[in-house]
């Protein structure tokens, strides 16, 4: 019995350790180039004002357990402006935005900025942070969430 308990404890500990290290996230920026009338996205390197940068966050579940309710929060970098409608994800997810630096998130039609007479519905370029909530990511799988922004 003692031996069985010890084995169970070790297994539980291993499961816990595996679960804690299951999902990784990496971020990479890309920009579109057109060569011989064919467009492709390459790593962002030649970026000047007006350039559109595509940010891809790749989520990999290296474990065996299914990760759930994956919440990715990405602040739009300084000097960049979010481009409306470009925050998407590969799998089923919900996207909301913040105009207060990530304190609160909501759908675009409920986002307002300014005070008094200057209060208005927030433009996409005024979004400060994007949040994706991915339902789940099975073990051994990967998915991406992404958005595009323009350099001011």
């Amino acid at each position: 019995m003692k031996k069985l308990l010890t084995v169970s404890a070790i297994a539980l500990a291993m499961m816990t350790m595996t679960a804690q290290a299951e999902v990784t996230i990496s971020s990479q920026s890309y920009q579109k180039v057109v060569k011989k009338k064919k467009a492709k996205w390459v790593k962002a390197a030649k970026v000047v004002p007006g350039s559109v940068v595509r940010y891809i966050n790749t989520l990999k579940n290296k474990g065996k357990e299914t990760a759930q309710n994956l919440v990715v929060v990405n602040a739009v970098p300084e000097h960049m402006e979010y481009i409306n409608g470009t925050a998407v994800c590969q799998s089923k997810c919900n996207v909301t935005y913040s105009v207060d630096g990530g304190k609160t998130f909501d759908k675009p039609k409920k986002l307002f900025v300014g005070k008094g007479k200057k209060r208005h519905r927030a433009k996409a370029s005024e979004y400060t942070t994007i949040m994706w909530v991915v339902d789940k990511l099975k073990g051994g799988k990967k998915t991406v969430v992404e958005y595009k922004a323009r350099l001011q």
Partner: protein, 359 residues
């Protein structure tokens, strides 16, 4: 002190941040994301992605625009005649700009065609920023350290040859070429960008983004821009016609008079200005022929075309126009008279009259 600090921080933000020309070259842009999730019902420790970074590259863009709304009117022999342009740094970094001018490369003014070259052509920067060329002050020949979004006035300064006539046109093109900025003094021209070189995320590459200007010697994406302007000679063009009639003679008086001794001859001298500018200080000297001795009465200049001689009968007729107050010098009784037409406006015709008696 608090106010000063606020102002200082605002200026710093303005320099480091975006402006109309965009984010300043060399700015580091970082991006990272945070992930949190659950496994089963257990919340896992949030993790932060790597930081993706790149350096904002040097977008070189500029415009040259002529500022003279209409072609610049000049007169023959005029010196230090000025064409005005504006050079704007629409890129995202402080740059120098080299300036050159070329002749006969077109102009923006409809119907005007180049047919002469102004001389002693020079290019100067409006150093004191007053928008007016100041001899001895505006001596810089290149633009030094022009900030993003900033503009500066540039002048082409020339002389007009004395031999030019009304409506002559001289075309001039100002070309600005970007040069290395960042330090006082003329930087080296930036002749090529990094389009042929491999991109590096953490390097500040040069990207030519300029449009095609008006100059034939530059095009899009070459670090240069140009625009045209032109001088047009606006001068008076005077034509003089002299004719005569017999006003009276001692035998026939005013009836069919003949040119016999004692007859009074009327000379009318018409000056027509067919040019585009008024002729000023117009005077006409007439040495009275010895056969006449001296001039008679009625020296005058009238503000109308000559009408004192009937074109059909060649007889003297009623003079048109009104007598100008300044009708000349010399006057009746002298052998050399000067008719003072004063100002003959563009398109105007005036007539002077001298009456003499045949000896």
């Amino acid at each position: 002190m608090k106010k000063i600090l606020v102002m200082a921080s605002t200026m710093l933000f303005g320099f480091m941040g975006a402006n109309a020309a965009g984010t300043v070259a060399g700015t580091l842009v970082n991006n990272s994301a945070t992930l949190s999730y659950t496994v089963g019902t257990v919340s896992q420790t949030a993790i932060v992605s790597n930081t993706d970074s790149f350096i904002v590259d040097n977008k070189i863009d500029l415009t040259v625009a002529h500022q003279d709304a209409t072609i610049v009117a000049v007169t023959p022999g005029a010196t230090v005649q000025v064409l005005t342009f504006e050079v704007t740094n629409t890129g995202n970094k402080v740059q120098d700009f080299l300036l050159t001018q070329t002749l006969n490369d077109g102009n923006p003014y409809a119907g005007e065609t180049d047919n002469f070259d102004a001389t002693t052509v020079q290019v100067f920067v409006d150093v004191n920023g007053n928008g007016v060329y100041d001899t001895g002050t505006d001596t810089a020949t290149f633009i030094d350290e022009l900030a993003p979004d900033a503009a500066v006035t540039v002048f082409i300064v020339s002389n007009i040859p004395t031999g030019q006539v009304n409506n002559d046109v001289s075309d001039h093109t100002l070309t600005a070429q970007v040069a290395v900025g960042g330090a006082a003094g003329q930087g080296a021209a930036i002749a090529t960008d990094d389009s042929a070189n491999a991109d590096t995320a953490m390097g500040e590459e040069i990207v030519f983004a300029d449009g095609d200007g008006a100059g034939a010697t530059e095009g899009a994406n070459d670090g240069m821009h140009a625009d045209h302007s032109a001088y047009k000679v606006v001068s008076a063009a005077l034509a003089v016609v002299k004719s005569s009639c017999v006003l009276s003679d001692p035998v026939n008086a005013g009836t069919n008079p003949k040119r016999i001794p004692g007859a009074i001859i009327r000379y009318e001298i018409q000056i027509a200005n067919t040019g585009s500018a008024a002729a000023t200080v117009v005077s006409l000297a007439d040495a009275i022929a010895t056969q006449y001795g001296t001039s008679a009465a009625n020296l005058e200049v009238r503000t109308a075309a000559c009408a004192g001689i009937d074109g059909g009968t060649n007889a003297c007729a009623t003079k048109a126009g009104t007598v100008e107050t300044n009708a000349g010098t010399g006057g009746a009784g002298t052998s050399n008279v000067t008719l003072d037409y004063a100002t003959v406006a563009a398109g105007a015709t005036e007539c002077g009259y001298i009456e003499v008696t045949i000896q």
